[in-house]
């Protein structure tokens, strides 16, 4: 039985709904760059946060009152995907609704603040209010509580491919019969420590490399759904960058349809992955060459959310452009490659 996309949602630096995001992309806008200062060294950094007003409406949710930004972002995207699907789940149906959450760095704001208290004030002053929100699965737990889901809830961690990995995990749950619907959500929040780390890692230097961003994406999967059909790849691991082209070749070979694709939703982000993705597309997606959709060029690199944002935008682009097929590919900075084929 095929897996279909029933609903999509996202929140990005360019907007909290797809109409706004497309309008701003078509107007040539890019995510606003905000200067962030490393308070320990004074070094200037830059990034693209999601404006607080996009998630402000969730602040009164009981489970989100004290939560970190990542939970608000995840909840906003998840609720948008459910609304987009038009689905109303009865209590019985909710027992067959699973949640799969993808994340890369997790609740970095609370994690850094909690450790800051340990280092600067002593372990005996560290706040018990902060620690629970540092756990990777806190956003998934909040989302489950908000939606009344008491069945399967999973959190997956990985590099920039994790959104697609979460999507694949969701398709596995459907195929195994463990759920009738799966809400796949991926999110990332920013903190100066995360930005500094990626600058130190030479991946996100000002004006060079990726622009780190916040964001969240969500896809409601089921065996029925109006949006599109999706086939996802289980992912490929590689140890050295030399192995990455072969890993991408395996992803493209497994996914590409005989008749070609209309859209190539690339995970290019301004770093070393760009050339590898482009050359893989050139090797596999020929005659005719598809239109390239590089979401991160407009939205920045929201690591944990990035790959699922590609899926959301590609799914929506198929409808807006009356196209049939989109191939999504992502190559992470930390040894993972994967993709998905979306068919309308």
């Amino acid at each position: 039985m095929s897996v279909r996309i029933a609903g999509i949602g996202c929140v990005t630096p360019l907007g909290g709904d797809l109409d706004t995001i497309w309008r701003r992309i078509e107007a040539g806008e890019r995510a606003a760059v905000v200067e962030v200062t490393n308070p320990e060294t004074g070094r200037k950094l830059c990034a693209a946060p999601v404006p607080a007003e996009y998630t402000a409406h969730l602040g009164r949710e009981p489970r989100l009152r004290r939560s970190s930004a990542i939970s608000l972002l995840a909840a906003a995207a998840g609720k948008a995907a459910l609304a987009d699907s038009g689905s109303e789940f009865t209590p019985a149906q909710k027992s067959r609704l699973a949640i799969v959450f993808g994340v890369s760095s997790g609740g970095v704001q609370y994690t850094r603040r909690f450790y800051e208290q340990i280092v600067k004030q002593g372990a005996n002053t560290a706040s018990p209010m902060l620690f629970p929100e540092t756990v990777y699965n806190a956003p998934a737990s909040h989302l489950a509580a908000m939606l009344g889901v008491d069945g399967a809830t999973y959190t997956l961690v990985g590099d920039g491919t994790v959104g697609l990995q979460a999507l694949h995990f969701g398709t596995q749950l459907l195929e195994l019969g463990d759920a009738d619907h799966v809400l796949v959500v991926a999110a990332e929040e920013l903190d100066w420590a995360l930005i500094e780390a990626h600058r130190d890692w030479r991946l996100a230097r000002p004006g060079k490399g990726a622009l780190l961003a916040e964001g969240a994406a969500a896809v409601l999967l089921g065996h029925d759904g109006r949006r599109a059909k999706i086939a996802s790849h289980p992912g490929e691991s590689f140890i050295s960058r030399r192995e990455a082209p072969a890993a991408l070749d395996r992803v493209f070979t497994a996914l590409k349809p005989d008749g070609g694709v209309d859209i190539f939703a690339s995970g290019a982000n301004g770093t070393w992955v760009d050339a590898l993705l482009r050359s893989a597309a050139a090797r596999h997606l020929t005659s005719p060459a598809p239109r390239e959709l590089v979401a991160k060029e407009f939205l920045g690199e929201a690591i944990g959310a990035g790959a699922l944002l590609q899926v959301v935008l590609a799914t929506d682009a198929l409808e807006r452009q009356s196209a049939s097929r989109a191939l999504v590919a992502a190559l992470g900075w930390n040894q993972q490659a994967t993709g998905a084929l979306i068919t309308r």
């Binding site: 620690f131 699965n137 889901v149 195929e175």
Partner: protein
């Protein structure tokens, strides 16, 4: 299940771990990897020095990677013909201590050359990839971070994939290395104890952290039999539930653990009366044990022997489910019940058959292994001796 590998505070490998279980050894010791002066709790279950000549690994690797490599190598040496198609690993904190070092370097305005290594190894998939490299294989990997249930979730999902025929061989398990942030986190919540760890005891006062890694080689039974592999045990059921009561506390009724155990039994087509031993989550916090104890008593009554092995080695978080699954296999293979140490007085809230303080010889054909975590995530796995 054709092979297992384990690195825990009880020892390196299944032989050392089984010996420690049979001797009811308390392996909780004062913390040595960071300063605990300002913490209430000062002890943990820590993995001993991992000598490079034993595992042949780079000194630059994170402790978590070294544990994962040790466990993976043991499993793949035990079943050299096991070529995995897929890998699923659970963890809660990845390479957290490298993140701590990075932050401290910022505060101290240092830029040491190893910072690039800290960053690359901070991410939770890295120890799994390091284990892959050491094992000489490359397969897709899923990293589950469902807090303290992660290891059981990894085994459970791997089991479902193998049983469905989607994959023939899956290497699964979990790991976690002790870190200052997580240690202080539990201390700040007053979930950590200054006393001994006393699971299910009336006077229990909290957990201590542990660490370790364990991996299990799961294979389709027919395939394993066809190639003449030694079959250690069978995973026959998996149940998962989410308790939405609170981010860090289970519902006192035990509804979350109850649902996970009932779903696992249903999945295995077993009745509660067919279970011979429950390896409980048993963290020894007042709330967790109350919830789990109530659920076990409701489903199984006081007949089935129950123990938590966390008294011996602390709570290894994302590794716990995998380590305790290996302990369950050891119980099945060795026909004994691992002990629940430091037990003094029964909690009158429920009547349970606790395996108090010493291992017992017993007929063990079927085990339920429980893991529950922050976020209300609950997982139970059923492991049985080979039926065929």
């Amino acid at each position: 299940m054709t092979a297992v590998g384990i690195v825990s505070p009880l020892g390196f490998g299944v032989v050392e771990n089984e010996s420690a279980l049979r001797e009811a050894r308390d392996c909780v010791t004062p913390v040595t990897v960071f300063d605990t002066t300002k913490c209430r709790s000062k002890s943990a279950g820590q993995v001993g020095i991992m000598k490079d000549d034993v595992f042949g690994m780079s000194k630059g690797l994170h402790r978590a990677s070294r544990m994962m490599i040790g466990a993976t190598r043991e499993a793949l040496r035990a079943d050299a013909a096991f070529a995995p198609d897929f890998m699923i690993i659970g963890t809660t904190s990845g390479g957290m201590s490298f993140g701590e070092q990075f932050y401290r370097a910022q505060v101290e305005r240092r830029r040491p050359k190893e910072r690039a290594r800290w960053l690359a190894n901070y991410q939770p998939q890295k120890p799994a990839l390091d284990a892959m490299e050491a094992g000489g294989f490359r397969v897709p990997v899923q990293i589950i971070a469902n807090a303290c249930a992660s290891g059981s979730n990894a085994i459970g999902h791997a089991f479902r994939l193998v049983r469905s025929g989607k994959y023939r061989r899956v290497l699964c398990g979990g790991y976690d290395a002790i870190s200052e942030l997580v240690f202080v986190g539990f201390d700040s919540l007053q979930a950590a104890t200054t006393d001994r760890v006393r699971p299910f005891d009336k006077t229990r006062s909290g957990l201590v952290l542990g660490e370790g890694a364990a991996v299990l080689a799961l294979e389709d039974l027919e395939s394993a039999q066809l190639r003449g592999a030694t079959i250690l045990a069978e995973v026959t059921g998996y149940g998962i539930s989410t308790d939405n009561h609170h981010l860090t506390q289970p519902h006192p009724s035990g509804i979350g653990p109850e649902m996970a155990m009932r779903r696992a039994l249903e999945d295995a087509a077993l009745s509660p009366g067919e279970v011979d031993y429950i390896n409980a989550h048993g963290t020894a916090t007042p709330f967790n044990d109350a919830s789990e104890g109530a659920a076990i008593a409701k489903i199984f009554g006081a007949r089935v022997p129950v123990s938590s092995t966390k008294g011996m080695m602390g709570h290894s978080l994302g590794a716990a489910g995998a380590i305790e699954a290996v302990f369950s296999v050891l119980a099945l293979r060795g026909q004994f019940l691992p002990p629940n140490i430091n037990y003094r007085e029964a909690d009158p809230a429920w009547e349970l058959n606790i395996v108090a303080n010493a291992a017992r010889d017993a007929r063990v054909g079927c085990v339920v292994s429980n893991s529950f975590g922050f976020g209300g995530t609950n997982a139970s796995v059923v492991i049985e001796e080979v039926r065929g």
